[in-house]
Each structure stands twice: as structure tokens, then as C-alpha cells.
Amino acid sequence: MPGKLKAKIVAGRHLPVMDRASDLTDAFVEVKFGNTTFKTDVCPKSLNPQWNSEWFKFEVDDEDLQDEPLQITVLDHDTYSANDAIGKVYIDIDPLLCSEAATVISGWFPIYDTIHGIRGEINVLVKVDLFNDLNRFRQSSCGVKFFCTTSVPRCYRAVLVHGFVEELVVNEDPEYQWIDRIRTPRASNEARQRLISLMSGELQRKIGLKVLEMGGNAVVGYLQCFDLEGESGLVVRAIGTACTLDKISNTHTSASATNPCNSSPSKDMKDSPQAVPSALGCRSTHSSPVHSASSRLSQGFSVSVPTLLFAGMKHRHRSSEGPRARQCRAGFGEETPGVPLSSGPPTPLRAQTFSSFSPSKSYSRQSSSSDTELSLTPKTARICQSPSSPTLQSKSSPIPTTKALRSTTPPPLHVSLSDTAMLRKSVSFSEDLLLAASGMGSGGSAGKEAGPLKALLRQQTQSALEQREFPFFTLTSFPPGFLLHVGGVVSARSVKLLDRIHNPDEPETRDAWWEEIRQEIKSHAKALGCHAVVGYSESTSICEEVCILSASGTAAILSSRFMQDGTLDTEHRLSRQQAPVFTSGAEKGEGDMGSSASLGFEDLMPPGCGFCHIPYDELNMPFPAQLTYCHCCRRYKVPDVLFTTIDLPTEANITGKGCLIQARLCRTKKKAQGEGNATAISNLLPFLEYELHTQLMNKLKLRSMNALFGLRIQISVGENMLLGLASATGVYLTALPSPGGIQIAGKAPSDITYEQHISNMQKKINDTIVRNKELYEINPPELVEEVIGSPIPEPRQRSRLFRSHSESSDEVSELDLSHGKKDAFVLEIDDTDAVEDIHSLLTDAPTPPGFYSCNTEIMPGIYNWTSALQMFTSVRVFRLSNVNVTNQGLNKVFNDLCENLLKSLYFKLRSMVPCCLCHLNFTVAVPEDELIQVAVTAVAMSFDKEQSLENGRQIVDKTLMKAITENEEQLQFPLELTAESSSSAFCSAKGLSEVSGPLPSARAPSVDYSSFTDRCSSWIEQLRLKAHTIRRGSIKTMSSLEKASPLPEGRSRSLRSNRSYAGGSVAVVKMTPLSFLPGTKIIKYLGIINMFFIRETTSLREEGGVSGFLHSFIAEVFAMVRAHVAALGGNAVVSYSMKECVFMENPNKNQAQCLINVSGDAVIFVRESEIEAATPQPHSASAHTSSSGEGT
């Protein structure tokens, strides 16, 4: 009931001429909400009408308020014939329903027509009076805040993170209704726009209800997508992370303001006792059973990559640097870094192994059996439907994996595991394992091994998570201390056949499909020893009646700190238990778990390497990753390569800079219909993923890097081809071992030219690696060769012992592990595939000087951003006529398309050098038979190139963050330290030196290990001092940088100021796909922007062809987004993204149509320089807001 919506139409301007005779327009406005319509008077003969209408009042349910948009139609009055529509404005009033967001919508909106585009502007005022509704059974969820941002919004603090929320609604697509045959394109487009607007509103409301149920007050990382399924309907679905957010008071802001990369609530970490060092592993699973339920084909596909965790100490062990390229990756080849190419074709078999780890629950698929031996059985192989490569099989035998798993698990469990019968029931398997393990741990008897301890720990945090169906988080960056360990990427795909959605109110099939996939993801995560999935996202690709559903995320272990929802007691109890257990683990010398001391340390400050540590324990690896001791702390194991879908954690230590790494692949497919088509796609998928993964690995090695962040693999399906595009940001994590080079080996009988050829290529590759090292400034510190005597060999021996105890067949693989991978990454160029791989490796052009690129929020290794930024969208469509339609031919075309697009971007943005293209988001599609469409949205941000500054900033950022923490923790810390064993103190000392010292010293390999405790406390003092001084300095630097930026923001231009512009200028609205604007502080979130537009033309040539058409449409979309933000009182959109860009053309009929869906968060920001000025009177922030709103 309870809401009164009021709207007032003020004026119009720049209206189009509707009456040719008089060159004028008689405009009036219809204001519609729900079923109520009001009209203004006609304002005769004016292109700039002043209506100044009364307030139109709508009394409506808040449910409607959430679902419906306010619809404003501008018409031209015509006495004799029907009134002509000029255009419409849809205003989403959701932001007004939330007390903390906007209070009024007021401003100029472009009047949009789906045929003519923007036609003038209209000034509108909208307000809402909301009455409180205490009805418990209400259907509305007013007041729940939505954020597209995938981190805790800048001016909030996460009190609790409740977890995953999802919802979907379906409807018939108006474009495919019978009535569409008789109505005009305009009517059809408008029906569609309106329907989608309604559906998004409904979806948001429903999600809001779920959040309220969970006790949250906000959704972060809200991701809404449309599936245009054509005949079978229209699906709008959304996922997000429910949270309870607290607004941070203004006083707090100045402290964190200087550190844009740091999410604010750092202080929260103080009491998270759960710091579990974890390790990283890379694993991929894949199962592709044909699943027969309801005669749909489905294919699951999943991949996971290991995580890294750091304990914040910095011994450097070199011990295992050599062997990186694992001969046998148990994981599905694709995701597993380090899969040797030697054996050529991918090994779906291995993939199978994985899937067995993470058995998918409950579906009626015969598939993914169990883990261990089963994977070797023919049955599994058959299920995979993918060719198994004998070589790999023999070399990589999945057995080690299995074994590892077994060896760590306590004996009883072990037994049950090997029991195949039990394994078959896959779901129970993983859960049982965990339960059993935890049982052991709590009994305290597990002292011998780290494994159970870890499992216990996991179990504890898990208890909070376990109550949830899906422990997924759409967030990609986290408050410090939240993310403990990262296990690796997990992903799942499924191929479905679409049919009509019969009952839109019960979209069960679609729900079931997603449920299925999520279960799979969940089980993969478990197999990686992780209880949660972060950086989670879902997507679809539809071609005709086939739909590929994909989900991916990063398996991780999270601190329970933010998740204790209602279960506080348990949590506490559990965490108390922890300590003794750990200690015992530490005594055992199993590096993995570390001592309780180190845990204590981690509480205080998130170590720069903690998240790299493997979450599974080393003897229980889900796949045979190459583990070494962490190069930062030297205490915990880390994998050789880490793939994740999240952003680089702020606390991570990296060497050099990062760069965008893309794997691109195009595969032909026979045209087919229905199930045949679905089967064909299912069969291709594993290869596609495998090859993408291999490409990624190769490119990573070529750049001398060892980790990927923000990994996003998009598979797009067309009539006769599949496109795969994997993008990620490669970095060199200091904690991980340095990657070896790439070695080319030829298997063919040696003849001289061939050898030469090989050595030529080898040389090229080596040169490239050297060049890349320079380019990305990767100079990992020389490690001390203390390998031999170091603790590392020892555990390894031990593990070997374990293994051989448990199973003798191990030997072979063990040998493989320790030999042959000294330098390890071997590419064999026996077959054409490999040649192609190498070719594609070398054809990637380096970025031009002054440019960097990444697809994460910020470029690792660059800290001194200026405020100059340019968000852009670029779209290209390539026609493949006459292209040699082979895999190679297509690959080359696709690769060139992407490369050229990048080159073109660099050229266009050259005036911003030095700059970095951040959040490069590629979307590929196959809109028609012979068309490939690539769309990119990204932001170019300038930075200051002075190296010294950069280093300075880096330190500042880190110290600052720590400093904040410390202010809180300061007392606790020393106490804990002294109480702990010396080894723990040692860790802390290392961690601190890493953090606070100037970089060179932090890297210095030799550190005096004595008298840690004293040192620690003095370190803290120093650190705090430093933090204070540096902070002050850094702000100054930034403001001066601003002035020097190549795109001056100031409006004070001599010429301009002399002129008087009629009507004043339009407020500048910045847009960025990132969650922040460098050099500024976001002081208010005004609500979510989620807009959907259709544009159609029947005069394509006249509008400048397809390019002209799309160019103006994208410009119009930007304009409408800016106008809505400005009307809410904002001056920027953050976390902007273009979710959908569907372009269809029919040049013969001179027609084209395009659909675009964009979203983001409207915000108000202030410049840091202004905050600085305002600090004396902290409460004047709002005043600054308004001034900056106009001034920027």
C-alpha cells in the first residue's frame, strides 16, 4: 500500500520538428505508472516547451514501486490525426525507495525513441513518499540496497556476509508473440523494453526478499543477465551476495581515502582466528555425461585452479624451483597449469579424474563417478566422451592424486574411499571425507598429520557455510582477512536444449539447470579442499535452440569472521578449539598448517602470501600440482601456478607488473539440429577448454609469470563454430616459484633442417621471455641456494613414504615428479597443434611502450594513478566470407581480430600514455553464420610513470593498510607474540619486514633470524610512524599528479570562461567499470543503474551503415546512463558494465536492430584533494559533493 509517487514535468528542450509546415512541435506529455496515466497540457508551437505541470500523484503498493518503472511519453498533438509519439523516458524509481540512496530524481533526460534514437530532452522531477509497512508477509523488499560492485562498497563496512542469493524470472518474448506480426517495430520494441524493465524490477524485489529473510540489508556483486531464448522465451536471472553493510562514518574516510585499492573495513580482521594458511593448486575437472533426464543433453565441465596463501613471512626457499612443469596434472588438462604439452592432445581422462573428486550430486547422470581408481577405468573414459591420450595416461596417471588424497585421510576413511561402491555415490563421498577428517582432528589424535587438522579447520568455517545451499560469493575482492586461501578456479558448463517455457510462474526447468551446475561447482570446490567459491559468476551462450550454461568461480577458504550468521556461539567454540590442534600440527613440522602463532599473526595483518598457500593439504592434493615452500614465508606450501577468477588481493606481494593474457580459440562445428547439435557441442567443449588452458599456460610462461587473476573463459556457440576466449591478468606472485622457461622438443627423427627449425624457435621463445621479463619488470630476487639442506626435501621424502606405504604403484609417477621438470615446460612440436600453439604464442604483439593492460580492477604493480580516465566501448564484427574455414584459418582470423582490436585501442588512447587499460572485458558472439562479434568495454587510466614514486606508493599503500589494522591490533599483537613460540615470532618478523620495509630490503634474502620478538615490536612502532608520514606525503603527490594529467578536468579554460553558454553546461558524469575512481573518495551510493535499450532502424544506409548506427546507439546509451545518474544527484557510475550487446542486421532490407543492457552503481565522489581541505571540518563533506558534482 504504502507509497505515494509524485512526478512533475517541468520542461523540454531541443525537441524535434514534428510539424513540417511550421517547423515546430505541439508537445505534451503522458506520465504513466502502472495503469494510471496523467497528461500535461499541450505546449503549442515550441521546440523548447515549458510545461511546469502540477505534481502528478500515484498511490501505489511498494511492490509495484519496485517492479514498475515510471513511464514518460512525449507526444506531438495533432488535431486531425493520431498524436505522434516523439519518444519515451523510463525512470527506475528504485533508488528512491532506499533511505540511504537518492531522495529525489531531478534533471534532464534524453527522450528516447527506439526508431529515431534520442530526440530532445525533458526535465522531470520525481519523489516518493514511503510509509512504513510492518506487514511480515509483505511482498516488497524496499530498502535493500543493491550494488553491482563486486567488493564491499567503498563507504560501507561489511558486518556480515550472508552468502549467495539467486533468482530468475521468465516470460514470453514479445518479439516472438503472434501479435508481433501485426504491430509496428516501435510498438514491439517498446513492449520488450517495458517487459524487461518490469522483469528486472520483479527480480530485484524477489532477491531483496531473500536477503531480508537471511537478515541482510544489501546485495553486493549483483549480476543480472538476460537470456534471449527466442521462441522459447525470455529469462532474466540474477545472482548476488547478500550482506549486512554498515555505513562508515565520515571520520573514517580520510584514513582510508588515500588508499583507493584498499577496501575500508580493514579493522575487522582483528578477531578472525581462522587464518588458515592454504595452498594453491590448480585443478580442473570436467565431466561430460550425456544426461538423459528429459531427453536433454547436458554437459558438465569444470575446472579448478589452485590457490595461494601466504602466511606473511618471508623465507625464501628455492628448493623446488626446478620442477614446475608437472608431467601429470590430474586435473583436467585445461585448467591445470603446467600440463606438459608433450603428450599432445588433451587428456579428458584426467579431467574425468577430477570430476570424480567433485561428484555431482543427485542428478541423474551416470557420470562422474568417483575419484580414485575409477578414473582409470574404461567406464569413466567412456563417459568423458573425449579421447584419452595414451601418453598422458601413462605419464600422468591419476593415481598420485588419488593417493595423495588417501594418504592424508585417516585410515578408516581411506578404506571407505577405496571402496568403489561407496565412491559411486559421489555426493556423499566428499562430505563424508570432510566430516571424517574433522572428526579426527577434534579428537586431537590427528597430530601426526597436518591434513586432518586442516580439514578440521576447514570444517569449522564450513559449519557457517554449510547451512547454505551454495557457499558462493560473487565478490572478487574482499576485506583484508576475509580470504584465507585460494584453491583454484572451478568451473562447470552444461549444454541444454531449449524448449518453450510452459508456465512462466514456475520456471522450474531453468532453475533446475542452474541448480545442477551450482552443485557441480560446489563439489569441485570441495574437492579442492575449499568450502567456498568466490568470484563466482554465471553466463550463457545461446544459438538457436542450444544453450550453454556456464558457471565459474574460485574455490577458497574464507575466514568465518564475516559469516557467523546466527551461529556465533558455535563459531567461537570452534575457533577456540583450534589453537591446540594447530600447535600439535606445528610440532610435527608439517609446514602446511603452521603454528598457532602464525595464525595469530595472520589475524593481525593479512600476510602478503597467505592466500597463495594451498588449502588442501599437500598429501591430499586433488591433483598432482608441483608444490614448493612459499617464497615469502617459507613455511607453507604453494603451488607452482595459481589461477583465480578474483582480483588480486590488495595484500598480495607481487614482483614487477602484470599484463593481460588471452587465449583465443575457434573451432568449426558441423551444422546440426536439436540433440545432434547439442551432442556435437558437448563433445567439442572439453577440447576447447583444454586448449584454452594450454594456451593460457604457455602465454603465462612466456611472460615469466606464475599466476592468473580475473580469469574469465567465455565460450560462445554459433551455427558452425565454437569460439572460446579466455582472458586473465598474469602476474608474478612473489610467493610462488619462478616459472621456468619453455623448452621446445621435437620428437620426429632428427634431420638437420628440422633441428635448426626447432632451435630457431627455441631461440625466439627465449628472447621473448627475456624481453617480457624486462617489459614487465620481473626480476625476482635471486634466491639463496639453500635448497638442499632446507626443510623442503624432508616433507617430500616423507610424503613419498606415505605414498609408497599406501600404494606401491606410485613409484613411477614419483619419479616423474622429481625428474625432468628442472626447467620443465616442454612443448613438443610434433604435431600441427603444437606448431599452431607456438605460432600463436609468438604472434601476440607486445603492448606499445607506455601501455599496460589487464582485465582486473587495477594493474598489479601500478599504484600512482592520476585522475585522468576514459571509459570506452568498442565493438567489431568480422565477416568470414571466403575465409578458409578450417580450425587454423578460423583461429588466425579470430586471433587477429582480437589483436587488432587491442592495437587499435592502444592507438586511440595514445594521448593518455603512460596509461593502463583496466578491466578489459571482452565479449565474443557469433551473431550469424559467418560473423564474429567482439565487444570490449574497459577503462583507460593514466598513471605517473616515475618509478620512484611508484615504489613509494606501493609501500604507502601497503603500510597504510597495515597501519589501519595495527591501530586496532596494536595491543594485542605483541602480547600474542611473546606468548607464542619463537617460531611464530619468526614468522611475524618476516611478515612485517615484508610489509614495511622499502622494497629492496624486503627482498633481501638474508635476514637475521634471532631475537624476533624484540624486533617485532619495534617494527610495529616504526611501521606506524612511517605510515603516518607517508600518508601525508602521498596525498600531496596525488593532487599534484592530478594537475598534470593529460586530460585536464578543470573547467577553467580561458576561452571557455569568457563565453556564456546558454542554459549552462551539463554536469560531467564519469563512468568506469572499476569499483573506484582514482584520486577520489566515494561518499555515497545512489542506487543501481540497470538499463535496457533497443534500437532499430529501417534506414541503415542513411544512418551511416552499421557502424554509424551502432556508434550513435552506444553514444546514446552512455548519454542516457549519464543523464539518469546526474538526475539522481550523482557524478559517476562505478562498476559499469555492458552485459549484453546483441546486434542484428539485414543490409539487404536496409535494416538493423541492436539490444544493449548496461548496469552500474550511481555514486557521488569527491576528490581527495577536497577531502584534505575539508578535514578541519569533517562534516562539510556534503558541501564538497555538490561542488565537485559541477566542477568536474
Binding site: 566501448t873 568480422f878 571466403n882 587488432n900 586530460l1047 549519464r1122
Partner: protein, 303 residues
């Protein structure tokens, strides 16, 4: 095997002056790409021809979309479609309205009508300015003329205010408008040696001293038309020729004013009587519109 579609749209519309100038000068995309290449654009960013082509296309499209807004420059500031930094807006407008003096010289004093527009082909050939550019310049003249024609107040300020142009450019437009309105004949062979700037200076002087606005500041009338009464009064000047005393007095005053200021002073002094007579003859005839139009011819021929 072709790029079907290729667009780049930034939230902030960044205008590269170099490309904008090529567009204004009427070069086709291909020509513009060639020119840019010659100017070394490729070396800037290791770009290839394709990149340059695509970039040029993008910018040309942007300019075309902006062109509509530039017709009434004040719209540029409050339109919502493109977010253009203020200094770029100024640059866009100024450059768009800049014109080639060679071109302006050709159309100076002609009626700014469709008929004249048809002559642009010839003018383009003659001046070597691309036809597209000629059209733009001519349309600009017409547009400015239309807006300013009926307005009261100082001509230069009107132009400046409505088209947001710099003062010097506004003065040039004022000259064009003034000539077009009074239809001064400037095309005769004898006048060919005079440049646009020469005429513009004259126009400035005429506007300052001979127009309605100049004569009577209180009258908020137009600058465009010559003051009829004033022209009528010029008849009275005949005394300066007829009356010897006045002639001498006139001579001494003029010489006093001009001494040291012009190079041809001695000649002028020597010929003063003839000059003065010719000028005054012209002046006294200015009541007829035809004679006004021929003002410059007369000045050159008979002066």
C-alpha cells in the same frame, strides 16, 4: 573476409585536432589516412594502416554526429549525447566556423542564396579548396547571416554570443555578413588584388562609423545596415571640394592626422585635391543603392 562493423565510443569524446582539421578541409577518409600517414601518425604507436583507417573512420563519424549540434553551438554545451570537455567544445566550434580567406574573398558581397551555392563548384576549382569544405563554409556564412540579420545590437557581439566564437573570428563574420547584406561588388577584376583581410578591415571601419548602431549608440538598432541619413548627409561634403578654404582646411587637418603614418604621404599630399574630389564625388552619390554596391569599385577606379 572483411570488417563489417567497427566502432569505438568513449564516455568522454576526445577530439584530435589534426583529424578534425582534415575533416573540415573536406578530405575523404582515405585521403585523410594518407595524410596522417605522411605526417607520421603511424610511428606514434606502432600502428598499422588498418588501425589508422579505423581510427579515422571513428572520428569522422563522431564529427558527423557532432555537426548537427554545431549548427547552433550553444546546444553543444547542454546536449547530452556527447560528453565533450569544455576546451574541446570551444575548439570544435571555433574550428568549425573558421573559414579560408580565399574562399570568403570569392563570395564576399554575393547574395548568400541557393543560387550562389551552385557556384561553389567553380569556386572550389579556383581556390583549390575541397568542395565539401566550401559547402561547409558557405553554409556557415548563411547560418550566421540568417541569425544575425534581424538582430539588434552590435554585430560582432551578436555573432560572438550566438556562435560562441572568438572575437577575431566574429569580426571576420561580421565583415562577411556586412558585405553580404549591402551586396558590395567585390568580384570585378580591378578589385582582385584586394584580399579578404583588406575588405574585412573596411567592413570593420564601415560598421564602426557608418552604420545605424555606430551613429547613434542609444538606438539599439542594427549594425548591419548603413545609416541612410548619414549617407544622405554626405551630400553636404560637396562644400569640401567647392569651397577653397574648406578644402585647404580639410587638407591641413588630414595631413596633420596622417603625417608620419602612411608611407605614401608625400604623394597623397601632392595629389590631395584630386583624391579628395574623387572621394567626395563617390560619397555624394551614396544615396543610391547601386552606387553603394559599387563603392569599392568606385574607390579603386576613381580614387
Amino acid at each position: 573476409m572483411s570488417m563489417e562493423l567497427d566502432v569505438f565510443v568513449g564516455n568522454t569524446t576526445i577530439i584530435y585536432e589534426e583529424v578534425y582539421q582534415l575533416w573540415l578541409d573536406g578530405y575523404s577518409v582515405n585521403d585523410a589516412v594518407k595524410m596522417r600517414k605522411e605526417n607520421g601518425a603511424l610511428s606514434e604507436c606502432e600502428a598499422s594502416d588498418d588501425v589508422l583507417q579505423s581510427d579515422t573512420m571513428d572520428q569522422y563519424r563522431t564529427f558527423q554526429m557532432c555537426e548537427r549540434l554545431l549548427y547552433s553551438p550553444s546546444k553543444l554545451a547542454n546536449q547530452l549525447l556527447f560528453q565533450i570537455p569544455a576546451h574541446s567544445q570551444t575548439m570544435l566550434i571555433e574550428r568549425y566556423y573558421e573559414f579560408d580567406h580565399n574562399f570568403a574573398r570569392e563570395v564576399l558581397g554575393k547574395k548568400l542564396s541557393k543560387g550562389t551555392k551552385k557556384e561553389l563548384d567553380d569556386i572550389s576549382l579556383k581556390t583549390g579548396i575541397a568542395l565539401r569544405s566550401c559547402r561547409r563554409q558557405f553554409d556557415n556564412f548563411r547560418r550566421v547571416f540568417k541569425v544575425v540579420e534581424e538582430q539588434r545590437g552590435p554585430l560582432v557581439e551578436n555573432v560572438q554570443h550566438h556562435f560562441l566564437l572568438s572575437e577575431s573570428l566574429a569580426k571576420d563574420y561580421a565583415a562577411v555578413v556586412f558585405f553580404a547584406n549591402s551586396r558590395f561588388e567585390t568580384g570585378k577584376r580591378k578589385l582582385q588584388y584586394l584580399s579578404f583581410q583588406d575588405f574585412a578591415f573596411c567592413a570593420g571601419q564601415l560598421i564602426s562609423y557608418w552604420t545605424v548602431g555606430a551613429v547613434d549608440n542609444m538606438m539599439e538598432d542594427m549594425d548591419v545596415d548603413l545609416e541612410k541619413e548619414f549617407l544622405h548627409d554626405l551630400k553636404e561634403l560637396k562644400v569640401l571640394v567647392n569651397d577653397k578654404d574648406l578644402l585647404d582646411q580639410h587638407k591641413s587637418l588630414v595631413c596633420f592626422q596622417l603625417r608620419e603614418k602612411i608611407r605614401v604621404f608625400t604623394e597623397m599630399e601632392a595629389n590631395f585635391k584630386n583624391l579628395s574630389r574623387a572621394l567626395i564625388n563617390i560619397a555624394t552619390k551614396l544615396i543610391n543603392t547601386k552606387d553603394v554596391r559599387d563603392l569599392f569599385i568606385d574607390l579603386v577606379e576613381k580614387g
